[in-house]
């Protein structure tokens, strides 16, 4: 079931316009002059039911407002798509990783990250995903996704719950 993706991020970055058609993707990546491995990854992104399909086409992350753990409307839409996909591919189990930006303390952010991940889990369950398939773990502010140089965009990227297919 699970496909090996070696350069998921690179493929994701280059194929931000990736649709659901395999043909389109390969064509697009060919124009970009990708290496063979990256082309394979790019192709994989469009294989329905693959990890890359989930990350690229469904969206693996739900963003939060500063110091908040309430699911926003955009997050709810992402979680609805995630649930639909997970219900279609019932062999996957997932871990939701809770993250926070660095403008807080290590201790409180561990708890806040846990609450963000749990809120995402609750919504997935409400959309029909068996909660036994969902684990949560919080990294608080100690495992940022992008470097925080003071820009609001960087902080936003780290206030996130990421659904990872295990």
């Amino acid at each position: 079931m699970r496909l090996k993706i070696t350069s998921l991020l690179a493929a994701g970055a280059l194929l931000s316009a990736c649709g659901s058609s395999t043909e389109e993707c390969v064509e697009a990546s060919g124009q970009g002059g990708l290496a063979a491995a990256e082309m394979a990854a790019a192709e994989a992104a469009c294989v329905p039911g693959s990890v890359a399909d989930f990350v690229e086409n469904v969206g693996d992350r739900v963003f939060f407002d500063f110091d908040k753990s309430a699911i926003r409307a955009d997050g709810m839409e992402t979680l609805r798509r995630q649930a639909e996909w997970l219900n279609k591919y019932p062999n996957y189990v997932v871990t939701i990783n809770g993250h926070c930006d660095k403008r807080g303390t290590v201790e409180y952010n561990l708890a806040l990250g846990a609450r963000r991940a749990e809120h995402a889990k609750k919504e997935l369950a409400a959309f029909g995903v068996d909660s036994n398939r969902i684990k949560v773990v919080s990294y608080g502010k100690n495992k940022p996704i992008v470097e925080q140089d003071g820009s609001e965009w960087a902080y936003q990227q780290n206030r996130v719950a990421i659904t990872v297919l295990d």
């Binding site: 660095k102 403008r103 303390t105 290590v106 561990l110 806040l112 609450r115 773990v137 925080q148 003071g150």
Partner: protein, 432 residues
């Protein structure tokens, strides 16, 4: 490995007695003047090796005493007597001219393979010896000997135990923010004798010393980086063990004053509650319950009767105090902004905390009833205060700017003397 150190009290020099009040800093008062102290360069008795050690020891004593903010070092270039002369017949009137109020002399000698250091502390105005010790130790231990001399001077003049012969455990951080490595490390309070404890293969956070400083409780995410559990590292055996994994993510461990259990938080279903865990039976007892709040960062009062912690049950993070035995908890923080990391002073008189308001972080203290709040330092990101064992200094994590390095700083709560604590790389979350 700790090497043995032997103490002998030196007989008091018979000096003329003066009826003036004895030299003393009252550090319970809000304002005070640093005590001018003359520390004569310790004498190595003409032995080149001992002379070098004597210089180093003198330097460490001066750095300890000046660093705490309670003493002002009298310029050694102005000294009018050698340490050897001071040890036998201090000329007090001459030292008075230099405005020195305290005077220290010391001699080094070899005793078999060991180092022997004798020192005396004098009160210049009463012309009397305040203390004198003879300390014997392995020569490699000279830093500890120096710290102990500084401790003896501090204790004799302030009436409080010194904190110079102490160690810090903290999180040594390396690498960019993304993919950063976290390692447990231990060092002397002034950053010397630094050693790593953990390998860096696992994510470790929030270390806390046991009351006897032989164990460290902390969070470890495990080799797969997905299994955050509480661990205890035993410094005497060098071994770490997990306190077991259960449903819920445990965090914020802290030892009870008698060391037989830890108090902690556990997050489950979006709620974070306080628990205590007996360390021999590993039995958990739930202390707070809520349907939605985060209760985190618990810490006992030194007598074990109360618990201070953070709760966001009122909407924002605030400091609450409750009886250890039970109860709802009373909010004690009321200034603008939000609070984190409350830590009870070992003296019981104050609670240190992190406060965040309008984009600035503060380290501050308040009394356990919430009165007398004052900020000690502020900056881009300050957090994780820890008290010196005597409750006079606070060490904490300090990142001065958004791109700045994360490091350790310490501040004296009376002298307000702030200084950076040296670490080989970046560092956070000290425990003292």
């Amino acid at each position: 490995m700790m090497k043995k150190i032997f103490f002998t009290v030196l007989p008091i020099l018979s000096l003329t007695f003066s009826a003036q009040a004895e030299l003393r800093i009252d550090i319970t008062e809000g304002t005070f003047k640093p005590v001018p102290i003359a520390i004569t360069p310790f004498d190595g008795g003409g032995d080149p090796q001992l002379t070098k050690v004597a210089q180093d020891i003198t330097q460490v004593i001066m750095s300890d005493l000046e660093g705490c903010g309670l003493f002002k070092i009298v310029d050694p270039n102005a000294h009018i007597q050698s340490a050897r002369d001071v040890m036998t017949h201090p000329r007090f009137p001459d030292w008075k001219i230099l405005n020195a109020e305290a005077l220290v002399g010391g001699l080094l000698a070899r005793n078999g393979g060991n180092l022997q250091v004798d020192f005396r502390l004098f009160d210049v105005f009463t012309e009397s010896q305040l203390t004198g010790l003879s300390i014997g130790s392995d020569a490699s231990n000279w830093r500890r000997v120096a710290h102990q001399i500084a401790d003896a001077i501090y204790e004799r003049i302030t009436g409080d135990k010194g904190y110079f012969d102490t160690r810090i455990v903290y999180i040594a951080e390396s690498g960019p923010e993304v993919g950063r490595k976290y390692r447990l490390a231990i060092m002397d309070y002034d950053g010397f004798n630094h050693q790593y404890i953990s390998s860096g293969h696992t994510r470790v956070l929030t270390p806390r010393f046991s009351p006897d400083r032989t164990k460290i409780a902390y969070v470890d995410f495990g080799k797969n980086d997905k299994s955050p559990n509480l661990h205890i590292h035993d410094l005497t055996t060098g071994q770490a063990q997990s306190l077991g994994s259960v449903e819920g993510q445990r965090m914020s461990p802290r030892f009870s004053p008698n060391g037989d259990h830890i108090i902690l938080s556990s997050a489950k279903g979006g709620v974070t509650c306080l628990y205590k865990m007996d360390l021999s039976s590993r039995k958990l007892e739930k202390l707070t319950s809520s349907s939605s709040a985060i209760d985190v960062s618990p810490c006992y009062s030194p007598d074990g009767t109360k618990i201070v912690y953070i709760s966001d049950r009122g909407g924002t993070n605030q400091i609450y105090v409750r009886d250890a035995a039970g109860g709802e908890g009373t909010r004690i923080s009321f200034s603008q902004g939000r609070y984190d990391n409350p830590v009870w002073s070992p003296r019981g008189d104050l609670i240190a905390f992190t406060r965040q308001n309008a984009g600035t972080f503060y380290i501050g203290v308040m009394r356990p009833d919430g009165s007398g709040e004052r900020m000690l330092d502020s900056g881009y990101l300050l957090e994780g205060p820890t008290w010196s064992p005597n409750g006079r200094q606070i060490m904490y994590t300090c990142q001065p700017t958004s791109r700045g390095k994360v490091g350790l700083s310490a501040i004296d709560i009376v002298g307000f003397h702030k200084k950076k604590v040296n670490t080989p790389g970046e560092g956070s979350y000290p425990t003292w």
